[in-house]
């Protein structure tokens, strides 16, 4: 049962400053229940430096922005593509 749960994965994408801190452009992680849990996992893995980035970023799930206030109650599902979107500066 636990094993089957662990087989559920999300793909996390890192850009700009987040990519530099993690040294990765993406990685597979075990499925956490919500974005809030994901933030905790990432903080644990990459420290406060990444935490600060996440605090100033929005998540996008499958290319849809999630509002900051909805992170705690936004559930994730198997194979979701989660991107950390630091403040953008295109143009």
């Amino acid at each position: 049962m636990l094993d089957s749960d662990n087989s559920k994965q999300i793909n996390v994408l890192y850009f700009a400053a987040a990519k530099e801190i993690t040294g990765l452009s993406s990685e597979e992680l075990d499925l956490p229940p919500t974005l809030k849990h994901l933030t905790e996992i990432l903080t644990c893995k990459y420290g406060d430096e990444l935490r600060k980035i996440v605090d100033h970023s929005l998540y996008a799930i499958n290319m849809e922005y999630i509002e900051k206030k909805d992170e705690a109650n936004t559930g994730l599902k198997d194979k979701d593509e989660i991107a950390i979107i630091p403040p953008v500066s295109g143009g």
Partner: protein
Amino acid sequence: MASNNRTYIQLFDGSLPTLDEACHLVASDSAGAISTFSGTTRDNFNGKQVLKLEYEGYGPMAEKILQELVEETRSKWEIQHVLVYHRLNEVPIGEASVIIAVSSAHRREAMQAVEYLIDELKIRCPIWKKEFYVDGSIWKGSCE
């Protein structure tokens, strides 16, 4: 008429097409106005010399957001054809990183549409600019 309106959205790894090519794509004999905006890389930021610039993008989402922006723009103004091109990777100083072109029957619509598109692109499109100075580099965005 609305069904004939064309939209050109594209991210480029190298040089953008010229403004003339962009205008040629959005031109039509029933459009009296073409408005364009070109964002070019500047050689300074707050007086500090910029040596080079790089853009990174979340490509598929950037294109999706641009598509949404164009749809929003069409719902606000009566415009004809729309083009939004953005360049990624290194962009040499003085070259265009973004080109927007809009055609419309009357001038006001094209001009306001272009302004809306570049404003919203800068707010919502997942693309990031890194500026390199003599003494280091910085991802733009958070500190502006």
